[in-house]
Symmetry: C2
Subunit: 470 residues, 2 copies
Amino acid sequence: MTDLLKTLKDIVGDAHVLAEGDLTAWEQDWRKRSRGKALAVVRPRTTQEVADVVRACAAAGTSIVPQGGNTGLVGGSVPDESGTQVLLSLTRMNTVRNIDPANLTITVEAGCVLQSLQDTAQEAGFLFPLSLAAEGSCTIGGNLSTNAGGTQVLRYGNTRDLCLGLEVVTAQGEIWEGLSGLRKDNTGYDLRDLFIGSEGTLGIITAATMKLYPLPAATLTAWAAVPSLEDAVKLLGLAQKHLASSLTGFEVMGQFALSLVAKHFTQMRIPLYKDVPYCVLLENADSESELHARTQFERLLETALEEGCVTDAVVAENLAQAHQLWHIRESIPLAQAEEGLNIKHDISVAVSRIPQYCRETDALLAQEIPGVRMVNFGHLGDGNLHYNVQAPVGGDAAQFLRDYEERVNTIVYDQVHKHGGSISAEHGVGSIKVDKVPNYKSPVAVEMMRAVKRALDPRGTLNPGRVVRL
Amino acid sequence: MTDLLKTLKDIVGDAHVLAEGDLTAWEQDWRKRSRGKALAVVRPRTTQEVADVVRACAAAGTSIVPQGGNTGLVGGSVPDESGTQVLLSLTRMNTVRNIDPANLTITVEAGCVLQSLQDTAQEAGFLFPLSLAAEGSCTIGGNLSTNAGGTQVLRYGNTRDLCLGLEVVTAQGEIWEGLSGLRKDNTGYDLRDLFIGSEGTLGIITAATMKLYPLPAATLTAWAAVPSLEDAVKLLGLAQKHLASSLTGFEVMGQFALSLVAKHFTQMRIPLYKDVPYCVLLENADSESELHARTQFERLLETALEEGCVTDAVVAENLAQAHQLWHIRESIPLAQAEEGLNIKHDISVAVSRIPQYCRETDALLAQEIPGVRMVNFGHLGDGNLHYNVQAPVGGDAAQFLRDYEERVNTIVYDQVHKHGGSISAEHGVGSIKVDKVPNYKSPVAVEMMRAVKRALDPRGTLNPGRVVRL
């Protein structure tokens, strides 16, 4: 092992191989649910250094856990407890290599923080639309390796849809130069999408060419009270018809989720939620003007009021108000944490199935756990709910988790499966769900995943035990 | 072999195993450039029949060539000349299984003809946006297996981007039930995109869940004269800024290409092309109204005229005029055929590189072949040019092809490679380009493709010798 450490120091420099001291920042995940022990934290600066590190580790029979901003939610980017894995941190690879305005592309290294990528794009006069809660610390490499979602998927797709090309270090330590800025290329298998979402188990993404978009002329936010989830789905259909791809956000929030925000963040003023089971936050990014955006929004909401799928609505008058509305939405997870430990889910079903899914599953959970409270919110526009389960009032939350987490997960996931949905819509598999996925996925698909893993990483060098077990 | 034929007849019925008579429709490709001989043409009706056919063939050591509408352009869907391959035609599998309006999805079998899919969507009040010249006879299964492009990629992406889930029969004859209508699902490797574009070499796509979109309120077409390709690129940037995703088409056409249409289809009136090297056809699909679409178009064209990247422009006054403009664009390949045999290409480079690519390559070809004529047109909005090469005036076209095809291809492809482009933007690899691709693709990528092929089809049952050679 000391031989390997010496080799790694020769490759990246002594200062960038950390084997002593407090390595918690790399060894523990953001939610403090997974904690491991690395042989060393290695921080390369170049693609060639990554390739050399992989070759050295593969030769030594040492496995590698790649890591970006370490903000993942499924324990996919921390080492196991063996003390034998190399934690490969990509954060020093954070150069913006190129912006091509006429091609609407930007080429960046994996360690670029998402927010700095957004800022760089904006300074160049463009939008990079990926947006999610961890954007201040997550990296684009991590976003790609987990195919991150977020709040604008409805319009711009997942991270996968924003990527045109990749540079990847393979499990053999070779460099695939796939940094294409092409929107059309049919010269073989889609290797790019194979690496995206593979959570570092098939190769290490070191750089990517991402799509840019023209900045919208105006972005407006509205808040609507809806009498039911069926009405929320109906409102979504109207919004897609009226606003087409100007509709960039459609978030649903249950009354109890909003009441937790009101309870724990008393300074926040939450509109319209007291008399309806759900509110919806809509965002309209218009290429023309603020006036046009407002007119379009008003027409949509008038139609929705007439058709009865909205009982009341407000449109933010200015940017500050818009930020306040988004801030309410984004405060739900924090308010929920204030209320106490809870059982989180990240599920998706077809949009058309959401009302029935929730009705059935709410009832099953209420039957199983009298008084259970549902914190239901999420990206309704793409069928993704954070369907979280909170202990009954006054209960001991820790005890609740011990008693019910497995049973609640089983009920929720069985229901998802019954409705043809996904038990991990945007967070990925990592180590937390690796043994759950095979219960809910086609055995044919699981076997194909194993075959692909064996084909590209036959020695199991890269992030073993994550995504799929061999 | 007679044993296998008997087994196949037991599976799909005697009437659907064709081993005698004229099988040209299945054995010869659309452009009559590839002609093979099948052991038999087998026409299953169900996914289970496909699976049974694959198992029977695999057991007999017989390879399978899947085929949809047989409109491919790279010889990927016809059998080889050995007389030993089974041609598996999917055209009897043409049921629309489901439309889900609230989820904006349609689930169809592989043999559905693209145009009937468009029509079915429209009757249900939605748009299925994939659109290409062969839409009257190509099938969605073929579109998926080749990741077809077409004229609306700029807005809606390639076929890949329109697909949410697949049903696939594997090389082992197992059925992968992956017909998800989910917009977010991060439970493992992206197998869907691995099958899309793999041209039937990794599995046989039997059904798919595809995205639908709201029908636009109005679709307008404009025609602009541009002084140079640089100006065309500048106009594209302005159009993307002004129209955002309402811009659904941006086709560029060189003066010589248009002059061939004028020469061979004398009834067609072609606007504005006589004084400029290029014309651009723009399409604007507006979610609001025809008035709004027209106002937006006029604002864009005024700005473009002011900035000098457009010298003159017309907006179609009605649908008939719009169809006429598109008809001019679509007549270029036919006019070119009338003019005589020519050397076709289907290339892409970054949009920003197109002017320099064309300038350099035009000069290299003119130097190589004095008097050579460039028929340059294509989907500039996504960097895809059909950069075709016509013999000098009065030359013997057949002789020209014999003398120059290889040299012209080498010049064009070397230039594409130099500019980081693709030698097959939308048509695929098939048999025609399978030995060219490795010259222009990263060896690391080619080796990964081989590894994936070996992993999923270790016996080489599916469409051997296409896309990648083992």
